[in-house]
Amino acid sequence: MNESLAVEVANLTKYYGELLAVDHITFSVREGEIFGLLGPNGAGKTTTVRILAGVIKADGGSAHIMRHPARSLQAKQMTGVVPELTNAYPDLSARNNLMFMTELYGISASRGKKRADQLLKELDLYERKDQLVRTFSRGMKQRLILCMALVNDPQVLFLDEPTSGLDVRSTRLIRDMLREFNKNGRTVFLTTHDMEEANQLCDRVAIMNHGKIAVIDTPMKLRSAVSGLHSVEVSFDKHIGTEALSGLAGVNAVRKEGDRLRLYASEPSVVVASVVDYARSTGLRIIALNILTPSLEEAFVELTEKGEIHGN
């Protein structure tokens, strides 16, 4: 077993009745890495996180957290979990929820109280610490859940859609907290629908579809690897129709986006030269010209729609 791996998954499989929710997936996450699991609804992301968090049992394969089996007490002692839906006790105060967690992790009362107060301050909940969670907004609840997941100072933090549907302030606080947590060499494993979030936070991302891992790579490499999605964005001083540019050398397709035209190409440098030549020959002035790499969202759509499934 590799000493520097925080999460090791081999041939992991989970069925729900006839449905194969997780289909023999294999991957690993290094210690100190922020790893994102992306995929459409029903891809198997939540099931994977639940197996890794020790909530449900896999039907096949293995999952290890810090070299301990995922369902073992040792693994659970080293992990923190932020599930998909809020699950603090609504009839307990924020502090009592946290103190309950400290007791479940075997943390002494004095240390637990200190840790709880520190986290409540960091996530801007300290002023509301004695209020019942039922009075909290969604963003506050989610920040509290993050506090609960961090109360044991875990080595690995699992988050299932941590900022989904949250206000800007809560989203920013949670992302900042995750970066801070990761700075100390701790591992973050998150699932998200938010491509920008994955792009901003993750060292590597895995794209999951139909229970399988489609691809694993850095966000930048994933974006560059999607052939045909590179593009050149241009705007001229006069209106030009898409058909005028579609015949230029190297252009695969043209799309109008507001006052700009987006030219899709396999080799953007060829298209830039063609556009410049076209502008010179027609007397047009180029207002803006940018080469765009595909967004992670485009890479995601391309990979999941194409069904490029190759285990990694």
Binding site: P83, N87, Y89, L104, G106
Partner: protein, 251 residues
Amino acid sequence: MATSQVYLEQLRRSFAIAKKDIRVYYSKGPVVISGILFPASLFLAFCMGRHMSMSFLIPGLLAITLLFTATAVSPVVAPWETMMRTLERLVSCPVVVSTIIFGDMLASSIFGVAISIVPILVGLVAGVNMLHPFILALGIILSASCFSSLGLIFSSPPTSMPATIQMLSSIVKFSLVFISGIFIPLDELPAWGKGIASISPLTYFTDLARYCVQGNSQYPVFIDLVVILAFTVLFLVVAIKLHERNLPKRF
């Protein structure tokens, strides 16, 4: 970590779960009031107009109160927490299923024991003597654990609908009340009635309570205590096994 240390740690975490249960479920006014009023109303409905001595009535009232309070919340904790998604949080923490179940059982037992003081006080005010208070206390503690564990068996089906479980547990609880010698003394039951009564744990607590209040019982006190203990262990083991099997189906 040594095995004994692991067990001790898990026991501490069971206490934490019990404390949480008491705060979240049992310390609510309506739960406490219904814990007292419901068994009292049921008991009065059956006893009004019948000429029975207080020393006969109080053990019966005590038995009904203990059964209904110790099983008032324990059957719905798991479905409720499944619905609220707090169970997923508990399971992702370093606790085993038996730790969670034992914690739930502890909380429910403490609630049952606390509320059982009410019928005892009623008896004392009415002039009923407690002939064997220590044996009664032991019987109450054991039986509260026994009925709580029974409640946890009810909660094992992997549903997130507390009402479904309440219905199931009510059917069993009402059946137990009628077969356990509460309204009709055991020695007045026909042989088949005694046979049915012998499979109910409530029978043995009622018999023990009658011994402690009236001074006579159908079974020897030792047998009552041993049978209640045996039912407690059986119910607790069955509850843990069922929850271990059904827990993954809740998510």
